[in-house]
Symmetry: none
Subunit: 196 residues, 2 copies
DNA sequence: TATTTTACTGTATATAATTACAGTATATGT
DNA sequence: ACATATACTGTAATTATATACAGTAAAATA
């Protein structure tokens, strides 16, 4: 957050503090009072500068219409992954999630499509918290890329090679061979189910 | 203290949704627009009811001056429920959770014990988000109290009466009769799984 | 040096927002 | 049966708020 002046940092901190303790952003008048400005326009000018520098956004015409850009970014929720595209490409981001209730660090949430993991208690539409990593331990549930497809499967590795196991009787396991274009995108560390 | 009506829940959820996606609470006009009220006073009245029931607080004279009580105090995580004790009694609270990723309002999280709901994708140790309510719709997953026991089951009601269904072949259903000391504590609205 | 940015005060105004009051109607509790 | 709660519509007043415009002055930048 370079480039901000000392005063701009103060204004920014007032906005953060208000969000923390009140649950909503401050008005111009509140900022002015806290920082002892005698004109509300001092706050307004600083807000404009902060917008210009990209650390906040304004919602014009809306009272308390200030958003922190760092909270806009959040943790991306990946919906369907377009075949062959990088998993976190803009087009795949459904929305951003602003709170992470899981104890583990999560790089993105992936919305589960299909029933292939129901025996692991992971249902269609669940949000799986994923930690980015290139390699996985035996038995972990991973987000894997096979050629153009991204799938959630249990990772198995032994003398016979690597297999990706579905946890559903009606799905068959996938055997990785040399001709496969295979990589691990991450490992599942938790799930959120928004609807029951 | 609790027991919100259907409409009050809708208003509450609009407030949560606004906080989630905008970062600040809604105005009365915004609530009215979303819920298709033709008078802002409809929203105002519901807000007063929600304050009276203790689930939100108002900051008088302040625009968007609405605070969720659950975010002030955190959402209790109920571990094992001591036989016969009120579900949210102090001794049953494992800790408080300060972020709720579920879109719906949650009165407490319940740590699932046992495998009786695995076919619904709810595993041992999962945290189930529960909204307190006295009655449930057919087919909903409820937290029910039977005599001294608190359990998570699917609620079924028909001409033959009320049954509580486990979602696991090795468990048998429970039939409620007049001699049962039965009540509904709440309904499950989502789950969090911290470990996979 | 000229120009822009920062950092304000002060005034003004349109509109955003809270909130009270007056009703109507149905449902629920006592 | 009667009071209270729920669930609104509609009007209106006061206050809260965003935001533009007109300045002043010092500091940073080109």
């Amino acid at each position: 957050m370079l480039n901000l002046t000392a005063q701009q940092i103060k204004v920014f901190d007032v906005i953060k503090e208000s969000l923390q303790s009140n649950g909503y952003p401050p008005t111009r008048a509140e900022i002015a009072k806290i920082l002892d400005f005698k004109s509300v326009n001092a706050a307004e000018s600083h807000i404009k500068a902060l917008v210009k520098k990209g650390v906040i956004r304004k919602v014009p015409g809306s009272s308390r219409g200030i958003k922190l850009v760092e909270e806009i970014s959040g943790i991306p929720l990946i919906g369907s992954v377009a075949a062959g595209s990088p998993i976190m490409a803009f087009e795949n981001v459904e929305k951003n999630i602003h709170s992470n209730p899981l104890n583990k660090s999560v790089d993105f949430f992936l919305r589960v499509q299909g029933e292939s993991m129901i025996d692991a208690g992971i249902l269609n539409n669940d949000l799986v918290g994923v930690r980015k990593t290139k390699n996985a331990e035996n038995g972990e549930i991973v987000v894997a890329r096979l050629d153009d497809e991204v799938t959630l499967k249990r990772f198995k590795k032994d003398s016979s090679g690597i297999r990706l196991l579905a946890e559903n009787e009606s799905f068959s396991d996938i055997k990785i061979d040399e001709t496969s274009n295979f990589s691990i995108e991450g490992k599942a560390v938790g799930i959120i189910r928004e609807a029951l």
